[in-house]
């Protein structure tokens, strides 16, 4: 009956038994640019080869969930910005969606469109920044990262004119958004989105067939479908292993069923596929952006009857999840009828995606650990919470 493999760590046989070489225990991190934040790995090495790897984290832990239990529902919204601080708007959306499920709040159409536009822009900037960081990790000092950041800055400018902040946007509200689009914002956004295909072509020409990138990534850190599903891996790195699971298609939350877009799938599940999936997803995001910017209707951005102050949902619980750029971001809320959530849980995609890090790295060289970690795409704000 069972086709799924039981999770088991198969460690290579220790060469110390043969008396030929000695194992070296190495602590990678926590203070190093390649670890993407304060993150440490205890690695056991046989020469250059990784025998064992244990991720160590919690340096950025501030117990976000406990803080939220002492906050009102709305009071936690700015804290969600600080989870995955590159993609604050998708964090906002995931939390707003969970609360809307908990209290049964409807969202007006214009707000749904604004959510999709900002979320796809967030996905675009996350993926382009990630590819920049990934190539940086491989030693391509600066150039690809600067290309990626050039586009990212333009998106952040758009976010700033919309929400007042570049990164800590705190923009979504239960039942809609905080403010309407400023005058001329849509034209600006349309003009910018029209330039993106050119950037994508340029970015792809720069990297996709680069010899060093291929040598460093192809066949490195291969993740099988079975492992990916069993380990709960989500997001682009799941689809790079060929599993067709995107919450925008599966749950159709918001208004994602209105847009025509495809889910790119990888074949090999290696680091190169994980890089390529992001390039392809950026193109799909541009497609969604074009459609959303064309169709966005006039109307209210929040239901005027929605209670902002003194918001007390009825006792019960709800789990809401969205396809954040890094994977499934879920919020599980338990209400006891008071103004504060009884339990507030963040299902962090980065934390769960890290589960497979050891299995991906075993047998590879220590330099590949940096590349594999880079391709998993973690942000410590969301891992540690």
């Amino acid at each position: 009956m069972s086709t799924v493999t039981e999770p088991a760590r198969i460690y290579p046989a220790s060469p110390a038994d043969t008396g030929e070489s000695q194992l070296l225990e190495l602590s990678m991190g926590p203070q190093h640019p390649s670890t993407h934040g304060v993150f440490r790995m205890d690695v056991v090495l046989d020469g250059e080869r990784v025998m064992k790897l244990k991720p160590v984290f919690g340096y950025l832990h501030r117990n976000h969930e406990k803080i939220a239990e002492h906050e009102t529902y709305l009071g936690s919204m700015p804290y969600t910005d600080r989870l995955d601080y590159i993609c604050s708007l998708t964090n906002n959306w995931a939390y707003a969606l969970a609360v809307e499920k908990l209290a049964g709040i409807q969202v007006p159409e214009r707000a749904e469109y604004i959510r999709v536009i900002t979320a796809e822009m967030t996905r675009f900037l996350n993926h382009s920044a990630l590819i920049g960081f990934l190539t940086q990790d491989m030693g391509a000092s600066g150039t690809p990262l600067m290309y990626a950041f050039r586009e990212r800055e333009t998106i952040l400018d758009l976010f700033e004119s919309l929400t007042g902040a570049r990164m800590m946007c705190n923009y979504m509200r239960f039942g809609g958004c905080r403010v309407d689009l400023p005058a001329g914002w849509l034209d600006q956004a349309r003009k910018f989105v029209a330039t993106l295909p050119r950037f994508m072509d340029e970015f792809e020409r720069l990297l996709a067939s680069n010899e060093i990138l291929m040598a460093r990534t192809q066949g490195v850190g291969v993740m099988s479908k079975e492992l990916a599903v069993n380990a709960g891996v989500t997001g682009p790195i799941l689809r790079a292993s060929g599993v067709n699971y995107d919450l925008r298609k599966v749950d159709k939350y918001g208004i994602y069923d209105r847009f025509a877009f495809k889910i790119p799938l990888g074949e090999h599940g290696d680091t190169y596929d994980r890089y390529m999936i992001r390039m392809l997803e950026m193109r799909e995001s541009v497609k969604i952006l074009n459609q959303a910017l064309k169709d966005i209707p006039e109307g209210p951005i929040i239901d005027p009857k929605t209670k902002i102050r003194g918001f007390r949902p009825k006792p019960g619980e709800a789990y809401g999840r969205i396809e954040a750029p890094k994977g499934e971001l879920g919020f599980y809320l338990v209400s006891d009828g008071t103004a504060n959530p009884y339990r507030y849980r963040v299902r962090s995609s980065c934390l769960v995606n890290l589960t497979v890090l050891e299995q991906l790295c075993i047998g590879h060289n220590v330099a590949d650990v940096v590349v594999i970690l880079g391709s998993i795409d973690i942000v410590m704000g969301e891992v540690d919470r």
């Binding site: 009956m1 919690g58 908990l102 380990a231 709800a318 849980r345």
Partner: protein
């Protein structure tokens, strides 16, 4: 597929298990299934491998603390006062034992359905806090169960690598519990927690406060 049919299917396939549907009154209507810890691994394996269910993806593992509660009820009791029967109000206090709860959100990547929500409860909050680990069934539970062990103190039997994950190794308490008291001297963290409290207490005595 409704939760009732899943429940009856589990009952036929896993004999002897005790299941209970926990209703969710909120508009989300995500009802959950309370399972008994003794059969948890068998139930989870069945849910994962069953041909028409295939819950191959365990998305979210959450710990919840439900502390001991004292409920005082006002009950009207008939009493004979001075030879006359009268209704007298009496306050009855009942004490419920709290527990720790672990909630699993399951989805199916193959069939694209879900969620099915499983709940497990410990017997109390202090002594019997053992629950079976579902990491052998879904590896995605590995870090999340470690987190619950760290922050709630639930001991998962059968977990391959049960250590603290977010707090440092020398930390003593479980901060997500509702009755957790913060140390009042953050300067000295990360020294052992109780030592800090003791030092703070002595300090207060020396200063002439209570």
């Amino acid at each position: 597929m409704t939760l009732e049919t899943i429940k009856s299917e589990i009952e036929t396939k896993v004999p002897g298990c005790v299941l209970e549907i926990v209703p969710n009154p909120s508009p989300s209507a995500q009802h959950s299934l309370r399972i008994d810890p003794a059969h948890a691994v068998a139930i989870a394996t069945f849910l994962r491998d069953s041909e028409d269910l295939r819950f191959d993806y365990c998305s979210n593992v959450t710990g919840i603390d439900w502390p001991d509660k004292e409920i005082s009820e006002k009950v009207k009791v008939k009493q004979i006062v001075d030879g006359v029967e009268k209704e007298v109000e009496e306050v009855r206090k009942s004490h419920t034992i709290g527990y720790l709860e672990v909630v699993y959100h399951l989805f199916s990547m193959e069939k694209k359905h879900g969620p099915v929500i499983l709940r497990m409860r410990t017997e109390d909050r202090a002594e019997q806090v053992h629950l079976p680990s579902l990491t052998p069934v879904w590896q995605s539970a590995e870090f999340q169960e470690r987190e619950i062990f760290d922050l709630y103190g639930v001991i998962f039997d059968g977990h391959p690598d049960l250590r603290r994950i977010l707090m440092w190794d020398g930390f003593k308490d479980h901060p997500m519990r509702k009755d957790y008291v913060e140390p009042d001297d953050y300067e000295y963290e990360p020294t052992a927690h109780d030592e800090v409290l003791e030092r703070a207490r002595q300090h207060r005595t020396v200063m002439g406060a209570q």
